[in-house]
């Protein structure tokens, strides 16, 4: 009963697919192909087999630091950050006094531009006028205020502190999932005399398995492409203390202009991400029902 149905279906899909193909699929293909090529700003791509990958994985201290830091950040983010988000959600779901205010406040760091967050922490941690200085003075150690972004032994932790606590996305995801749990389940727990903590651990958490998997995947993917704050604050330094895959890729691609090598890092980044999603999905038995 619809005239020209086929025509309209094609016409409605085509623009999206066109943009997808030109800006996404084609570049993706090029990344894979040129990752096997010698290809710099001066040279056209020429096939060299696994050359780029060899120079990444054999005796490349920058790449191994980038890889190590990326893995560390993924581990920290998928555990500590997700856990903080879960705890806040479990507290807020009982709607304690001021819960809406807490939720709104907690969201704000997730709403503002990440570049602004980076600059904000540069100011906050500034050894000459930042909050760190006043805290050190308060404890009588005013002479030895550290430059938190400038010391290779702890800058990694300083950078981590700019994002690991801000887990509001996980909190709102879990809150909306908790809202969907049927209330009857809690009634019977109450009858059995379970207290709040027991209910949270033995009833609510197991019901949240699928959304927890989503949170862990989001946290991992977020860390695989984490760039903005590191770029603004340390650019991967000092040395390679805060170098990760995206920052290393940026340096090779935009400063050294070695496109072939940069694209092989891109392939590593993509494959690593897919692998993580697959593994996390398996661990959480994603999509399967609860027993």
């Amino acid at each position: 009963m619809i005239k020209n149905k086929k025509f309209w279906i094609v016409a409605f899909i085509l623009p999206t697919m066109l943009i997808f193909t030109v800006i996404f699929a084609m570049p993706l293909l090029v990344v894979f192909i040129t990752s096997f090529c010698k290809y710099t700003v001066f040279e056209q791509p020429a096939f060299i087999g696994l050359g780029n990958y060899k120079s990444l994985f054999i005796n490349n201290s920058d790449f191994s630091s980038a890889m190590r830091n990326t893995v560390l950040w993924i581990l920290l983010q998928t555990t500590i950050s997700v856990a903080i988000g879960v705890i806040v959600a479990l507290i807020l779901q009982r709607r304690p006094f001021g819960w809406k205010f807490v939720r709104a406040s907690y969201m704000i760091p997730n709403i503002i531009p990440t570049a602004a967050t980076g600059l904000m922490f540069i100011l906050l941690y500034n050894p000459e006028f930042g909050v760190v200085k006043s805290l050190y003075e308060a404890f009588g150690a005013g002479e030895s205020v550290p430059n938190l972004f400038g010391n290779s032994s702890y800058t990694f932790l300083t950078v981590t502190s700019t994002w690991i606590f801000y887990s509001a996305l996980n909190t709102i995801l879990i809150l909306s999932e908790i809202g969907a749990i049927p209330k009857e389940i809690y009634d019977s727990a109450k009858v059995d005399g379970a207290n709040n903590l027991q209910t949270d651990i033995f009833i609510t958490l197991p019901m949240l398995r699928n959304i927890l998997a989503t949170c862990v995947i989001l946290a991992a993917m977020n860390m695989i492409s984490q760039f903005d704050i590191i770029y603004i604050t340390t650019k991967g330094g000092p040395g390679s203390a805060t170098l990760n895959l995206p920052i290393y890729l940026f340096k090779i691609s935009n400063l050294e202009m070695n496109f072939g090598l940069a694209n092989s890092i891109g392939v590593v980044q993509i494959v690593f991400g897919l692998l993580l999603v697959f593994v996390i999905g398996k661990v959480f038995r994603i999509g399967q029902s609860n027993e």
């Binding site: 943009i19 001021g98 205010f101 709104a104 760091p109 570049a115 600059l119 006043s134 993917m221 993509i270």
Partner: protein, 275 residues
């Protein structure tokens, strides 16, 4: 007794969460009114002596924030409008009709989510150089549009699925054509979904940093987050101006959040649950 202690701990924890969330921004906002002297000698928790806007004027002089602000507005509105216009059409036919390759299209669209943006930036850079789209607002709009496809698609598809089929069927019986039914009946009904998708895309492109950094070179297309980069590189000596620059950048996003808090929460939830 134990219960009361747990309660106190709970509130201390929540207080800490609030403190680390809005404390830094409030501190920067206060700092943006301090003079250079007050900043360096007053201690971090001192109050500015007066509400002076010199730092804001300085901030505007150091980087062309006004210009970047306009660029950001044009790019974000362009991307948001195009994204909901183009991708909704695709989401609509996928939600409503059965056809060959339908599942393949859904799969293809989901794949965008799994690719870190940096990994394919070099070919996009090369492509844009060749097409003369490098360092243009249109270029950034197109890239943001491509990366916006999955989220807008998922939000709109689930919204279209919630609209009963009978509404369109009666329109067709009344003799309305396909396009008319879509634009006159479906789109008005889908407004809340469009708003949700719009908010996600606007905030996302307002905050985007990486492509804005690698796909621009001059002031014609640079966006607000890139302006912040100016303060950490060439002109890092003017700290009071850095304070005001941060505030100028975060204000639009906070205004959106305050005006449409429930919708932002809903948008981010919908935008995240896709994989």
């Amino acid at each position: 007794m134990k219960r009361a202690l747990l309660n106190i701990l709970k509130y201390i924890f929540l207080l800490l969460i609030v403190l680390i969330s809005i404390g830094p921004i409030l501190w920067v906002a206060l700092g943006s009114f301090k003079t250079n002297k007050e900043l360096f000698s007053g201690g971090a928790f001192s109050l500015p002596s007066s509400l002076q806007f010199k730092n804001y004027i300085d901030a505007l002089k150091i980087a062309p924030i006004g210009k970047f602000f306009c660029n950001s507005m044009i790019i974000c509105i362009g991307n948001t409008v195009l994204s909901i216009l183009i991708v909704s059409c695709c989401a609509y036919v996928v939600a409503r009709f059965d056809f060959k390759f339908k599942n393949a299209i859904v799969l293809i669209i989901s794949s965008v989510l799994l690719i870190p943006s940096q990994s394919i930036s070099q070919p996009i850079f090369a492509l844009f150089k060749a097409l003369k789209l490098f360092d243009t607002k249109i270029g950034l709009i197109l890239v943001y549009l491509a990366f916006s496809i999955p989220v807008t698609f998922y939000i709109m598809r689930s919204y279209f699925l919630s609209i009963p089929r009978s509404i369109e069927e009666s329109a067709y019986i009344d003799g309305a054509g396909f396009l008319k039914t879509y634009t006159r009946i479906i789109i008005p009904l889908a407004k809340p979904g469009l708003a949700t998708a719009g908010i996600v895309q606007f905030l996302g492109s307002w905050n985007e940093f990486y492509f804005a950094l690698v796909l621009t070179s001059g002031n014609d297309a640079r966006t607000i987050p890139i302006a912040l980069n100016y303060y950490t590189s060439q002109f890092s000596s003017n700290y009071p101006a850095m304070f005001s620059a941060v505030i100028l950048t975060v204000i639009p996003t906070i205004i959106i959040f305050v005006l449409a808090q429930e919708q932002v929460v809903e948008s981010l939830t919908a935008g995240a649950v896709k994989g």
